[in-house]
């Protein structure tokens, strides 16, 4: 055989390998094929191709492996068990950038499924290799490495700590400053995943000066980048007061309020989450947000969105109102009717529970606040939520608490009257208590109470003598002359008729 023929054999083999690996990579891009591929034993076939002499075959094999491991955690475990990871880690340090991208993609695909797999990825020393890749010039390599790091750090605090110990955070902060949008996105999401577990990790992220850079990217036009940036800022700010103050000092308000009008609903949700995390901590921070007009923006945001996305906005209003009665008044002034609309429209129980809690916090401070809440026609809804058998327990408990706390301060009688008719006894106690406080002092209210049939209803209530309800009922009855009380007591017509029986005409 001549030399050319021998070489031709090798060329054919190379072509065959290339074609195989490219087709497998294309097939692995579709999820329905993974089952078949796995049964056909694709792992064991791809493994030696990773060590192939031709770099294209190596890269495509790595890409195929990554796609396979991406869909299925069994395959990811097979990757780990097949000892492929050390080889990949070694080659991360050596080869060209396409291979580095593919290898980082495989690491990411393996690490994303569960903490044990991520731990296995960390154990084979991939973090140092990924850190080296983060220092590369090519933005694609950096993106793949940052993505892998983000997925590793996502699972628990221990893994995040391992990632931080490898010295990743300053490099990620440098990545954020790069011009490529995809790289910024991935770096922001990696920082968010690192910082979310514990205050120390958040402090580490803050110490590298990440907040300033994240704050600069707030008004970037790309929607996905904004999602990640706001998510990162909210994960950082949620841990402690100092960090939240630093986030606010980065002057993100009022620029962040603009993003509450973004067309992308997850950007809006993340902004609302950020505001919520900031207002949760202290009254001063809430005051800053209120002064900047944040409450109005959030209420408009509640009006614009539907469903689960509203939850952070509602919770933010609740937290703001909790701190002091000035802030609760600020919330009321900005618009309580919108919150009442939320309560009506929403179907999910946890959102309704959050709204009920928020109302409770707003209305519990002074009679003014309770009046504002009552005027928004909230009591019947809260009562329905409390009494509805289909509501979850959490919802019922929250509705009851909210009702109780608002009722204890409510002196707005027109809103209390409907409650007389429908409320169960433990709520009724508070309603009657409020009536007994207000009626002795206001004659017009007494008249209205009688004409609207409230006195009649009060007489009909059966209460044990000596109980609190009976005392309140006595207090109410003592506001009226005896004849009227007797007139409205049940069975009065019968007693009158009995008098006819006993009467002797002269």
């Amino acid at each position: 055989m001549s030399q050319r023929q021998i070489l031709q054999v090798f060329e054919q083999y190379q072509k065959a390998r290339t074609q195989f690996v490219q087709t497998v990579a294309d097939l692995a891009a579709r999820p329905q094929n993974t089952e078949t591929l796995q049964n056909a034993g694709v792992m064991s076939l791809l493994r030696p191709l990773l060590l192939d002499a031709v770099p294209t075959i190596q890269q495509t094999a790595a890409l195929a492996l990554g796609r396979l491991a991406n869909y299925n955690d069994d395959l990811a475990e097979a990757v780990v068990k097949g000892d492929i990871l050390p080889q990949l880690v070694y080659s991360l340090a050596e080869h060209n950038r396409f291979y580095k991208k593919a290898a980082a993609f495989v690491l990411r695909a393996v690490a994303k499924h569960s903490p044990e797999l991520a731990q296995a990825v960390v154990d084979c020393g991939s973090l140092d290799a990924l850190v080296i890749s983060l220092e590369e010039f090519d933005p694609g390599v950096k993106e793949a490495a940052a993505w892998a790091i983000g997925y590793i750090a996502r699972h628990n605090a221990q893994l995040s700590q391992a990632v931080v110990d490898a010295g990743v955070v300053p490099l990620l902060v440098l990545c954020i400053q790069e011009p490529e949008i995809a790289l910024k996105r991935v770096a922001a999401s990696a920082l968010s995943d690192i910082a979310k577990h514990s205050p120390e990790l958040a402090q580490t992220v803050v110490d590298t000066g990440a907040i300033a850079h994240l704050a600069q990217m707030i008004l970037n036009p790309d929607a996905k980048l904004k999602r990640q940036v706001f998510s990162a800022l909210s994960q950082i700010a949620k841990h402690s007061v100092d960090i939240a103050e630093m986030v606010v000092e980065a002057e993100i308000f009022p620029a962040a309020l603009v993003c509450l009008k973004d067309p992308d609903e997850y950007v809006r949700k993340n902004v609302a989450t950020l505001i919520r995390e900031i207002t949760k901590h202290t009254p001063e921070l809430s005051q800053i947000i209120v002064n900047v007009g944040g409450v109005a923006a959030v209420i408009d945001y509640l009006g614009d969105s539907k469903g689960n996305v509203r939850l952070p906005g509602i919770m933010m209003l609740g937290y703001v109102a909790t701190h002091s009665e000035n802030l609760a008044m600020a919330v009321i002034v900005s618009g309580v009717p919108q919150l009442a609309i939320c309560l009506e429209e929403e179907q999910e129980d946890h959102i309704k529970a959050a709204t009920a809690w928020a109302f409770g916090q707003i209305g519990r401070h002074t009679p003014e606040h309770a009046k504002a809440v009552a005027v928004a026609n909230v009591f019947p809804k809260l009562l329905n939520l409390y009494l509805d058998t289909e509501s979850s327990e959490d919802l019922q408990v929250k509705a009851k608490k909210a009702l109780k706390s608002i009722l204890q301060k409510c002196t707005y009688l027109p809103a209390l009257e409907p409650l007389l008719y429908e409320a169960p006894s433990n709520i009724l106690k508070h309603v009657i208590c409020q009536f007994s406080k207000v009626l002795p002092h206001d004659s017009k209210a007494r008249r209205l109470f009688v004409t609207s049939g409230g006195l009649k209803k009060v007489q009909e209530i059966k209460a044990e003598p000596g109980s609190a309800i009976q005392e309140y009922i006595n207090a109410i009855n003592s506001c009226y002359p005896e004849e009227i009380v007797r007139y409205y007591s049940p069975g009065y017509s019968e007693t009158l008729l009995e008098r006819i029986d006993n009467y002797q005409p002269v």
Partner: protein, 347 residues
């Protein structure tokens, strides 16, 4: 006298008899008389003593009376004084309470819960909320219009590209094109577009040339006749995209400052200065500063010259006080350059 004596001697026996009789009677009455005497004496002594005792009592009573009057008056005056004092203190307390009431009312109303400040704050807050709402809505409107404009432009562009590609379907004088049907009142939009647009230049196959016209560094772009043109637009491998290379190659000249300044720059500057002086200077007298203020001013030497001939740590090694212990274990911060293009202000 002798007669008297004789009479007396006759009575001597009588006397002796009488003496004994009388002694006997006296002896018989002695006890009674003694007891009576004792009684009388005792009664009399009693009277004496009683008179003395009553005298003593009277005196003692007098003394006690005076004394008690004294102490009672002292006590009384003390009580009057305390009562007066209490009355005064009550009065002062009431006045102090009045002052404290006023002061506390004022203080609380000013600092702790200022009703009017709160009212003003809530009004301001509503106004601010309205501003913010208006601004946000305007901004959202702007963004929406921007997005719509972008989509419209994109559509336009696509249609133009389509028209460029299908330019060969343009109607001629002899033959109406597909988009210009004679049965229609007006030609179709595509036809009008194609009339405006120039046809897409497709590179025809390169003609046979005697001398190869390939410049030595364009081997990536111009395809070799023996090799087929590349399938992928992006060249495989570690090559920079062709556009970048072209841009770098045809980058406009950015001459340095030295090159751009003309050779006569100095003279021109002088001329310009002269013209400026001619235009602006009205008064020839120079304005002398107030010399009095500077008369007593001491010259403060430079820190650098007034110290020893070595580099000062202050100003070079450290400039302000640093807290080295806070920085322990942390890496040096990397500062970022502020890029103003990244932030678009919407106001």
């Amino acid at each position: 006298n002798m007669a008297r004596l004789e009479k007396l001697y006759k009575q001597v026996n009588n006397i002796k008899k009488q003496y004994f009789i009388r002694n006997r009677i006296a002896e018989e009455n002695r006890q009674k008389e003694n007891e009576a005497a004792v009684r009388i004496q005792s009664w009399f002594k009693g009277c004496q003593v009683r008179a003395y005792l009553s005298h003593l009592h009277k005196n003692a009573t007098l003394i006690q009376k005076i004394w008690r009057g004294l102490t009672a008056r002292a006590l009384f005056s003390q009580r009057v004084k305390t009562a007066y004092f209490i009355m005064k203190m009550n009065f002062y307390n009431k006045m102090a309470v009045k002052i404290q009431q006023r002061w506390r009312g004022y203080y609380v109303r000013k600092n702790v819960h200022n009703y009017y400040a709160r009212k003003r704050y809530l009004e301001r807050l509503t106004r601010k909320n309205e501003h913010i709402r208006r601004d946000l809505e305007e901004f959202a409107e702007l963004q929406r219009r921007e997005r719509e404009r972008i989509t419209l432009e994109k559509e336009e562009k696509e249609k133009n590209i389509q028209a460029e590609r299908l330019h060969f379907l343009l109607s001629t004088k002899q033959c109406p094109g597909v988009f210009n049907s004679p049965f229609r009142a007006e030609p179709d939009e595509m036809e009008l577009r194609m009339r405006k647009v120039k046809p897409l230049l497709v590179r025809s196959a390169p003609k046979e040339r005697k001398t190869p016209n390939i410049t030595p560094d364009l081997t990536n772009l111009m395809p070799n006749r023996e090799r087929l043109p590349p399938i992928h637009k992006k060249p495989q491998g570690p090559f920079r995209p062709a556009l970048e290379v072209q841009e770098q190659r045809h980058r406009p000249l950015e001459p340095s400052l030295r090159v751009t300044t003309s050779i006569n720059a100095l003279e021109e500057a002088r001329e310009e200065l002269k013209r400026q002086e001619w235009r602006t200077r009205i008064i020839d007298q120079t304005f002398l500063p107030f010399s009095n203020t500077r008369r007593n001013k001491q010259y403060e030497g430079l820190m650098h010259t007034s110290t020893t001939f070595e580099q000062m740590a202050y100003g070079t090694k450290h400039f302000r006080e640093e807290h080295k212990e806070y920085l322990k274990g942390k890496k040096r911060r990397k500062f970022v350059k502020f890029d103003s293009n990244l932030i678009n202000t919407h106001k």
